[in-house]
Structure formats: structure tokens, C-alpha cells
């Protein structure tokens, strides 16, 4: 649950006046989002956890500089992005992201052509009880180009608005939309064949069984 900015500003003032323990409550609604932001960049859960802790400690130290111009969540997200990116740089893991940083469409259009299907039967969330399905979705997301992955998780995992993401990532809203479109299309292309094949669908049960039986000696 997200608190109203007015309440957050009041808490921040009280923390700065000495009620330091209120900081726990202040960040509690955002601790999940901070982790997701870190993992969208670092891809390693232990490192993402460490970066999340560090980012929130930096946020505490710099609390007086938060003026309420942006949402508190956007401010935290942007501190986390900086923390995660600086870890990548230190580890020498950074490739300069020129893929779409100019905002121009340099990708091959066919990369963003969807996987064509004639019908789609909804995969229910209960199917995620199968760990393998959740891991497959995670892998597909992890394999997205970094700038697409970041925007995708902020939007479709953390449900931030396009404008908030643009602010936190430091790019124009239109570029956020382009990256989001590409991320979603790449995932559709990669995951749809897998989901169609691997997730049992009641209606197709008879024909699958018939096929299997027919294949036996």
C-alpha cells in the first residue's frame, strides 16, 4: 500500500527532527519495488538485495534533499537505479548501452514481430504453482536487452506510470514506450510458443491423449 505524499512529507520532517525509527515505516511500502528495480539491472538476487539495502541507506542519509517535487517512490527508484548501475560499472560488467539511447529505431523490425497464433487460451495464475513456469518467465525477462528489461519490470511488475519511469530512468516518455513495446513483443515471441506447448489446457486434453496413445506400440 502506498501512503499519500502529504503523510510521507510529514514523516520525513519528523525523521529529520529526530524520530529516526519512523524511517522503517516510511520505506516499508517500497522495499519490494526497490529490490525489483535492483534485480532488473543486476540480475543476481544476492547482489540485488545488497544494492537494495545500500540504496535505502543512501536514501536515509540524503533524506533532507527530498523536497516532494517527484513522488517518494520515484525518488527511491532513481537512487536504486544509480546504485545498481554504479555496481555494474565497478564490476566492469557494463557494455555501453547504445542500442536505443538515441531514441532512434535501430532494431530490425522483424525482431518485434509477434509470434503468430490463431487462438489463445488464457493461462491461469494457478499455473505458476509449477515452479518451472515461473522460472521460464524469469529467464525470458532476464534475457531482454538491459534497457528494455529495466523499463519492462518497472512498468509491468511494479506498475509505475510511463511518466514516473521516464523520470526515474532519466529518459523521455516516448523512449520508455518504445522500450516497453519492444520488451513486450520480444517476450510474447519467446514465451508464447513455450506457454502454448507446456501449460496444460483442458480443452486440448483429448487430442493430446489420443495422440500419445496412438504413438504407443
Amino acid at each position: 500500500m502506498v501512503q499519500a505524499l502529504a503523510q510521507e512529507m510529514e514523516w520525513i520532517a519528523r525523521i529529520l527532527e529526530g524520530e529516526r525509527d519512523l524511517f522503517h515505516a516510511l520505506i516499508r511500502p517500497y522495499e519490494r519495488a526497490v529490490y525489483m528495480t535492483a534485480i532488473s539491472i543486476l540480475r543476481d538476487s544476492a547482489e540485488a538485495e545488497d544494492a537494495a539495502q545500500e540504496a535505502l541507506i543512501k536514501a536515509y542519509r540524503a533524506l533532507a534533499s527530498f523536497r516532494g517535487d517527484a513522488k517518494f517512490s520515484t525518488w527511491l527508484t532513481s537512487i536504486t537505479i544509480n546504485e545498481a548501475r554504479s555496481r555494474l560499472r565497478k564490476a566492469g560488467r557494463v557494455r555501453l548501452e547504445s542500442l536505443d539511447s538515441s531514441g532512434q529505431d535501430t532494431g530490425q523490425p522483424e525482431d518485434y514481430t509477434p509470434f503468430l497464433i490463431a487462438d489463445w487460451r488464457e493461462i491461469p495464475s494457478e499455473a505458476l504453482e509449477r515452479d518451472e513456469l515461473a522460472r521460464q518467465i524469469e529467464r525470458a525477462i532476464e534475457n531482454l536487452p538491459p534497457t528494455y528489461r529495466e523499463v519492462f519490470l518497472l512498468r509491468d511488475k511494479e506498475e509505475m506510470s510511463i511518466e514516473e519511469i521516464a523520470q526515474a530512468v532519466g529518459v523521455k516518455a516516448n523512449l520508455v514506450k518504445v522500450r516497453l513495446f519492444r520488451a513486450r513483443m520480444l517476450l510474447q515471441k519467446q514465451l508464447t510458443p513455450y506457454l502454448k506447448r507446456e501449460v496444460p489446457q483442458r480443452r486440448g486434453w483429448f487430442s493430446r491423449m489420443a495422440g500419445r496413445m496412438g504413438g504407443r506400440p
Binding site: 525523521i15 529529520l16 529516526r20 525509527d21 524511517f23 522503517h24 520505506i27 522495499e31 519490494r32 529490490y35 525489483m36 534485480i39 538476487s45 544476492a46 538485495e49 537494495a52 539495502q53 535505502l56 541507506i57 536515509y60 542519509r61 540524503a62 533524506l63 533532507a64 534533499s65 518485434y112 514481430t113 509477434p114 509470434f115 503468430l116 497464433i117 490463431a118 487462438d119 489463445w120 488464457e122 493461462i123 495464475s125 499455473a127 505458476l128 504453482e129 515461473a134 518467465i137 524469469e138 525477462i141 519490470l153 512498468r155 509491468d156 511488475k157 506498475e159 510511463i162 514506450k177 516497453l180 513495446f181 513486450r184 513483443m185 517476450l187 510474447q188 514465451l191 508464447t192 506457454l195
Partner: protein, 91 residues
């Protein structure tokens, strides 16, 4: 404005986010009514987004919250939040 499939695909993402114009929305919906393939693509993208949002995808590490608040507790006891001047933090 009449759209064919290839011209609908670039709008699928914006359509889901409801950032298309009313005119675009109308054209897209007219196309979707008659095109099973594009409807199935839209459904599959939407379904993938619903699954992604589920807490079982990218689970938080076990004990994440406890460790986080413990570390923050140590920091709170040690350091006053400064006015952007980090000198008091002691590193």
C-alpha cells in the same frame, strides 16, 4: 482509418496501457473484431503481463525484509540523516 495486422502490432503495447487516441482505439478495435490472429496476440501479451505481475515470478529472497530492516536499524542508531552533507556519516 482502416488497419491491417502489421499496422496493429505496434499499437498493442499502447493499447494495453490505454495511451492510444480515441480514433486509434476505434480502428484497433474494429480490426480486432474481425481478426482472430491479432486478438490472440493481444490476449497472449496481456496474459504474459498478468503472469509477470504475480508474486511467484521474481520472488523476494527469503528473509529479505528482516535483513533489510536490521541493517537500516543499525544505520539509524549510528547516523543522523544529513542535509545532503555526508560528512557526519562516518563513511
Amino acid at each position: 482509418m482502416k488497419l491491417d495486422c502489421k499496422h496493429v502490432w505496434p499499437y498493442i503495447s499502447d493499447y494495453i496501457d490505454d495511451t492510444v487516441t480515441p480514433e486509434e482505439r476505434l480502428s484497433i478495435e474494429q480490426h480486432l473484431e474481425t481478426c482472430e490472429v491479432c486478438s490472440a496476440i493481444l490476449d497472449s501479451v496481456h496474459n504474459i503481463l498478468v503472469l509477470t505481475a504475480d508474486d511467484r515470478v521474481f520472488r523476494l529472497p527469503l528473509g529479505y525484509s528482516e535483513r533489510l530492516h536490521e541493517r537500516i536499524g543499525v544505520e539509524l542508531a549510528r547516523v543522523e540523516p544529513s542535509n545532503g552533507d555526508d560528512a557526519s556519516s562516518g563513511g
